[in-house]
Symmetry: C2
Subunit: 187 residues, 2 copies
């Protein structure tokens, strides 16, 4: 699955062959198909596994916003993972793609979680009052996705985490739980 992750990220699902994945694992492609009956099942297994790993240790609620900055920072040292999700989410845009439903569900869930996080932050006074949680959630997801394209495409030195942090700061989010206990959190 590690090899499949790397290859799906480099060449996409359609551009990767079972033979090449199998070769990197030191077996033949029927050998690979013994463990994953179809290419599609391998793809979904890879996606599920990566999603599970990425989500563990990620904060919920208002802390999710700051937690994402850390996640973006970690991703900047794992090009393969960024490639996987960037290339496949675009490829899965086609309605008949094997992972279309999976990505559609994933985005719905992430946007909903972020909307809740923004709403919680705003209620705690840690957000400009005129920032709409629903809009901000979509904007934040979009910003992260788009930065990954630029990062992968030409300029690995751009600081994705800093750009996301700057965006949150501009929305009036400072990572505190609220103005009333800012002193203790900053200390």
């Amino acid at each position: 699955m590690d090899q499949a992750t790397a290859l799906f990220g480099e060449a996409g699902y359609r551009g990767t062959s079972l033979r090449e994945i199998a070769a990197r694992c030191g077996l033949s492609h029927p050998g690979l198909l013994h463990h994953f009956p179809t290419k599609e099942s391998l793809l979904l297994a890879v996606l599920e596994h990566r999603e599970e790993v990425d989500r563990e240790g990620l904060a919920t609620g208002a802390g999710l916003l700051s937690g994402l900055v850390d996640l973006v920072g970690r991703n900047a040292e794992r090009r393969g993972i960024v490639e996987l999700f960037t290339v496949l989410s675009a490829e899965a845009t086609a309605p008949d793609h094997p992972a279309h439903g999976w990505f559609a569900d994933r985005y719905r869930r992430i946007v909903a979680e972020l909307e809740a996080a923004y709403a919680e932050a705003r209620a705690g006074g840690d957000l400009h009052p005129d920032v709409e949680p629903a809009t901000a959630a979509r904007q934040l997801v979009a910003l992260m996705d788009g930065l990954q394209i630029q990062w992968l495409l030409g300029d690995p030195e751009i600081d994705m985490a800093a750009a996301v942090a700057a965006h949150l700061r501009q929305q009036g989010h400072h990572g505190r739980t609220g103005p009333e206990d800012a002193a203790s959190d900053q200390g």
Copy 2:
């Protein structure tokens, strides 16, 4: 080239065959290869053509920022074009992709133009002073790209233009040339 545009957008470069493009044009695939000697040449011709069409009529300087909101709004009615650039820019992330250099150059140029536009807006007082033009340029490009993924993937009803406009507003950009003549522009 219209058919190639649609198919490259739906299935990507690797997922599209010359036979299918040719079939939609009512000719055989050698007939198509008579006009474009290789598949790669067809891809680059499609990209150049679309880029040329998209850029005509687009403002320069500080007006570019507001002009992009209109462009995003127009794109919301041309799914094929959005698919083309979203799918191919992610696919071209791979360093050995035929369009990798083309997209890398395109992003460099767009980010540079936007940085100049932001700098001009800030100099005219139409931007929060603490918005860095270089960072803001990358953020704006990323936001537009990311919104397209969400729009394509599951929710064609999200208003990309409104989200971009909200982002610019939050940066303190109001589409005027400067505070001194706001009254005349708003009238």
